[in-house]
């Protein structure tokens, strides 16, 4: 069942991506609408380096570093903004990054994209590599999950939540809000870079069109549907979103109505989103459920 393997790999990569966003959105309360930029930076860095002959693991490490640095770079100006303004600044930043990929052809080959990105040599090539790639993704996802959880329950995670709940209180209690947020964004970007690099090595072809606002929206959905600010939420959300999208392919609709299928699917998708937000806005897993019991 290579198809199932494929979906699992995609879901795992999205889980990493979603967890990285959750660090910013869920824990630190930062509305990052440009998270795909770091995914893209990770993907391009890793792809370009490994195409240039660097070993894949080294490329992935560089991807994380590059994404993290980009995150830090964004923070210096953008974190002076709060709420929606930060959101729009990040959104604009992501579009700028995409346009850079699109227009700097000497580096990225522009809209032609980068084909033939190698996979790590030890996972093999072609279809035979799928199971090993799944193992790689699984290992990385589990490590990221444990890492994020470790951070979330640490005093650092708690301080982030204070910042999320009330920045003034955080300052009054001696928290350096700017520094905390910066570290959250950098950590989130590093993990997004990892997800992006996994993506590039899995798909083996990337082009600027893969890193649009739509991707940000998708990963935002994963986080919010699953439950932001929780450990399992983003993972669950990523699996739900990926599986739901794939499941739509299996809806038995007669081929004659071909023209109608796609819009109908889109309508169902939209309607499902609206209903979930109306019925369960805090996501499948609620951050506060434990306390509600007592």
């Amino acid at each position: 069942m290579d198809y199932l393997l494929h979906i699992l790999i995609v879901a795992l990569i999205y889980a990493v991506f979603a967890m990285s966003l959750n660090l910013e959105l869920g824990y630190a309360g930062l509305y990052n609408f440009g998270h795909v930029a770091f995914f893209g930076i990770g993907a391009y860095t890793s792809a370009l380096l490994s195409l240039a002959g660097l070993p894949v693991p080294l490329g992935m490490a560089c991807a994380m570093v590059a994404a993290g640095m980009a995150g830090a770079l964004l923070c210096v100006p953008a974190l002076r903004l709060t709420g929606d303004f930060f959101g729009i600044a990040t959104l604009v930043f992501a579009e700028m990054v995409r346009l850079f990929f699109l227009n700097e052809r000497w580096l990225t080959k522009g809209p032609m994209g980068l084909p033939g990105i190698p996979r790590p040599s030890w996972v093999g090539t072609g279809i035979a590599a799928m199971p090993m790639f799944l193992v790689l993704c699984l290992l990385l996802t589990v490590s990221v999950f444990l890492l994020v959880r470790w951070v979330a329950v640490s005093p650092f995670g708690r301080a982030l939540k204070v910042v999320r709940e009330d920045e003034y209180v955080a300052q009054a209690l001696g928290k350096n809000v700017f520094s905390l947020k910066t570290r959250a964004v950098v950590a989130g970007s590093v993990l997004a870079g990892l997800a992006g690099s996994l993506w590039a090595h899995y798909i083996t072809y990337i082009s600027p069109g893969d890193f649009t606002l739509n991707e940000t929206i998708l990963v935002l959905l994963c986080v919010v549907l699953g439950g932001k600010g929780t450990n399992w939420g983003p993972v669950l959300g990523a699996f739900a979103v990926v599986f739901f999208q794939e499941a739509l392919r299996f809806l038995p609709i007669p081929a004659d109505l071909g023209r109608l299928i796609a819009p109908l699917q889109g309508m169902v998708y939209g309607l499902a989103l609206i209903l979930i937000m109306l019925q369960r806005p805090e996501g499948v897993i609620s951050e506060y459920r434990r306390s509600r019991v007592c």
Binding site: L99, N103, L264, G266, I274
Partner: protein, 290 residues
């Protein structure tokens, strides 16, 4: 010289369209504090409904078809509120945002279900632009800029001179306080959506008149319209106009100096810089709605 003057003029026209879209967004954002992703779909629906009434079997002339079309758009706008947003106003803002993404998907795909994805047009013949002092402008463009300014003036008068407008501004300032003070919340809410949909519908019609119709036509200009909102200061009507003009001019003048592939990049970079240098919006000091 005429070259640069023409670029500025093009920027002004493009900016007035951004502004027309931005006003609806800024009203909704000012009162409900969320970015309505589905605003672009109101724009598209406005344009398509005109087409519906202008084509057989109804075959109204365009300017007459505009009336039922705008009414229909307003209906959709109010329905958005009635069935979705209204129930979410108490919750987290990100919930509203995601719900509006859902509404956007739903409306856009409904559009595609009915009319298909193909490009459509009102079938207006292109005409030569009016030449004036070396500048060229088409009647449609004049109409666009004129409508944008006219609507903004009407809106400004509405907001500052009428009781309803004043209540609206009160709600934008502080929703809870306004409710306590006896501002008719229901009416204000409906008014905001009617106005937002009205602007979107008219804007969509004008955009389609200038170019063509496709289901994603509203989406394309959305990011910049929202940037215009923020540049002008959220909830500030004049700010939205100036913000829109600023973005329109920036990207058009940029074409002269950079590769047009970087057209968006220029305007985005400027938005980014401005956000950081003047987070209260470039025109934060001007008094508008708030």
């Amino acid at each position: 010289m005429a070259y640069y003057a023409q670029l500025v003029l093009n920027g002004v026209i493009a900016g007035s369209i951004y502004a027309l879209f931005a006003v609806g967004l800024t009203l909704v954002y000012g009162v409900f504090r969320f970015i309505n992703f589905a605003h672009g779909e109101l724009i598209a629906w406005g344009a398509y409904l005109v087409l519906l009434f202008a084509l057989p079997p109804i075959s109204l002339p365009l300017y007459l078809a505009l009336i039922p079309a705008i009414a229909g758009t307003v209906l959709i706008g109010v329905a958005q509120d009635r069935f979705v947003y209204r129930h979410l106003l108490q919750g987290h803002r990100i919930t509203l945002l995601i719900a509006s993404i859902g509404v956007s998907y739903f409306l856009r795909n409904t559009l595609r279900l009915i009319w298909g994805s193909d490009l459509m047009t009102y079938g207006i013949r292109p005409v030569r632009g009016i030449q004036f002092a070396g500048l060229s402008i088409t009647p449609t463009q004049l109409l666009m800029a004129g409508t944008a300014v006219l609507f903004l003036v009407i809106l400004f008068v509405l907001l500052t001179r009428t009781l309803l407008g004043k209540s609206l501004r009160a709600v934008a300032d502080n929703m809870e306080l306004a409710a306590v003070m006896g501002v008719p919340m229901q009416r204000v809410r409906v008014t905001v959506w009617v106005l937002a949909a009205l602007f979107a519908g008219v804007g969509g019609f004008l955009l389609a008149l200038d170019t063509n119709l496709e289901p994603a036509m509203g989406m394309t200009n959305m990011i910049k319209s929202f940037a215009a909102v923020l540049l002008g200061g959220a909830g500030n009507v004049w700010g939205a106009l100036l913000g829109g003009l600023f973005i329109g001019m920036a990207e058009n003048i940029g074409v002269a100096f950079f590769s047009p592939g970087y057209k968006d990049f220029i305007s985005f970079a400027l938005i980014f810089l401005l956000l950081i240098l003047r987070p209260q919006g470039i025109f934060g000091v001007l008094t508008g709605m708030r």
